[in-house]
């Protein structure tokens, strides 16, 4: 069953302005991850904004669990779709648990505050990302990776079927990039969550696929999807050249008996170095 369904979606900020994306359609089923890939400024975040209801489509429909998001109030959308931001600007040093409790806003009246039950839900969410021990720390003192896990915990506390992530591993170090990816895999496997995420790392989608999650990649190019499909099919040297103007090599090596590790390695930008030099380099 498809949880999230986008049909013929078009958007521009004003009627007369150029469209950011046009006539985009896709579906995501339960327990699947949908990855948006494309260069900076191609409209990934704008598409995510439309799914979140921050902006509204000019044409087309977005349905979540069969309901048109246009007809839902912000409090209702927040019970279907949660959001993990790309970079969260930390202003006030709230305690970690207070941040996660904010995930319960959609279930809490305007003039009341989270109940004891909400607090339990928040603690469980922290358990899922393994940060319960930090719950009383000011979240401004956490590292970038821990901060991102707190954002994921907050989204989990929202108890939604869908989580939208905007480049969840941006600005993270080598280890924490992995920690966040492992957390996502664990969550999708254990809770049947549906994830829509924008990413700048094609290799992450291989990672998800290798971990047995149904992963779909959409390459966003010139307002449309260039190609949609599983990572192995879509992520090839030809498409990378079209999408990013980057020459790549697809490297593979067997990881164990059943899985093959795949990596797209960038070699040069298309107009960066001369053809012969590049060939020499690759050789």
């Amino acid at each position: 069953m498809s949880i999230l369904q986008v049909t013929n979606a078009s958007f521009s900020y004003e009627q007369h302005l150029e469209k950011i994306f046009e006539d985009i359609s896709f579906e995501v089923g339960q327990g699947e991850i949908f990855c948006l890939l494309g260069p900076n400024g191609c409209g990934k975040s704008t598409l995510l904004d439309n799914i979140l209801g921050v902006n509204h489509l000019q044409q087309g429909k977005i349905r979540v669990m069969g309901r048109d998001t246009r007809t839902l109030k912000s409090g209702e959308i927040a019970r279907y779709i949660a959001y993990v931001p790309q970079s969260h600007e930390r202003t006030f040093p709230y305690q970690v648990i207070d941040i996660v409790k904010m995930g319960r806003a959609a279930y809490t009246g305007r003039f009341s505050s989270p109940s004891a039950e909400d607090k339990e839900i928040a603690k469980e969410a922290l358990d899922l990302v393994g940060l319960r021990h930090l719950r009383h720390r000011p979240y401004t003192q956490l590292s970038g990776g821990e901060g991102q896990l707190v954002m994921i915990a907050r989204a989990l506390a929202q108890k939604t079927p869908v989580i939208v992530m905007d480049e969840p591993t941006a600005h993270l170090d080598f280890k924490h990039e992995m920690v966040v990816m492992e957390t996502i895999v664990k969550l999708v496997k254990n809770t049947d969550l549906t994830v829509v995420m924008a990413t700048h790392f094609p290799n992450h989608t291989f990672y998800l696929e290798n971990n047995g999650i149904k992963t779909t990649v959409a390459l966003m190019h010139n307002k449309h999807f260039l190609e949609v499909g599983n990572p192995t099919k879509v992520l090839n040297e030809h498409n990378m050249r079209t999408l990013y103007n980057v020459n790549t090599k697809l490297m593979t090596c067997p990881l164990d008996t059943s899985t093959v590790l795949k990596q797209l390695v960038p070699v040069s930008t298309l107009n960066g170095i001369k053809e012969e030099e590049r060939n020499a380099y690759v050789r």
């Binding site: 904004d49 979140l52 209801g53 921050v54 109030k73 912000s74 409090g75 209702e76 959308i77 927040a78 019970r79 779709i81 949660a82 959001y83 931001p85 969260h88 600007e89 202003t91 006030f92 040093p93 709230y94 305690q95 207070d98 904010m102 995930g103 806003a105 959609a106 279930y107 809490t108 305007r110 003039f111 009341s112 505050s113 989270p114 000011p138 401004t140 003192q141 907050r154 929202q158 939208v164």
Partner: protein
Amino acid sequence: MRKRIIYILLIIAPLLCVFATLFVGRYPLSLALVVKTLWGQIALVNYDIPDMYQTLVWDIRMPRAILGAMVGGCLAVSGASFQGLFRNPLVSSGILGVSSGAGFGAALAIILFQGNTSAIYIFAFAFALLAVLLSYLIGRVYNTTPTITLVLGGVVVSSIFSALISFAKYVADPYQDLPAIVFWLMGSLATARYHDILVAGIPMSIGIAGLLAIRWRINVLSMGDREAHSLGVNLAVDKGIVIVCASLATAGAVCVSGIIGWVGLVIPHICRMIVGNDNRVLIPASLSLGACFLVLVDNVGRIITGSEMPLGILTALIGGPFFVWLLKKTKGGSW
């Protein structure tokens, strides 16, 4: 348990400050006398207290202390709410132009109506709200009000009204109106009467009640527009409630007390160092500490010199060093 103790302290502290005020002034009163005067009035018992003490306690010191507590509480709570809403620790209760709007309204009333107090209140209040409305309209783009344009709107409106205040001072009669304007702008509780408390108390109470009720939502709003929306907040409504309530509270306060700076900026920060950043505790704490602070500062102003020292001067002179001391002691809290 610890939470309950904090809440009890927050309620008792301002009451104690108000009570202490009854003893302070040029005529020292004994504890027995004050208690008798209070009880006599409340329980309608006749203790044969001279009229002078009766007036001193009930009609001069009491209304002044109550008004001081209300004004201080309002300014601090509005400041804390705006800091959360605008995600900016440097914002104060006057950010949307309330103070300068009120200042201009008062100056205008002083010039036009020769300092009629009712006219000053009404004009100050009306112009305070007008200033907020203008800031809001300026900040409004594409049918939404992004935080940054709202703050910019407030800055623009504030500076326009400040210029108008200067203009009013420039054209005012230098022997009568000008000193009145200058004194009003420095803030004072000297004219406090029960009547003022009742009238200005209405917007102040509405504002405070609204902000206390919505205080947890201010946490969520402080996550920024996009995140607050995705967490399920109706931005237009919730932001609107915070702005309207904080503006009512501030406008009600400044229209009777004049412009008292500092309280709306720094009391919330002092509270952050003591109780943390969660607005569920921070807002009530600001209400309480703001009330205590202004009442105590007003007492100092009444006793340190022969003539009264304007409040706006003292709040900064006393609050500043205190803030620095606390900053050093708590190592800046969690900042």
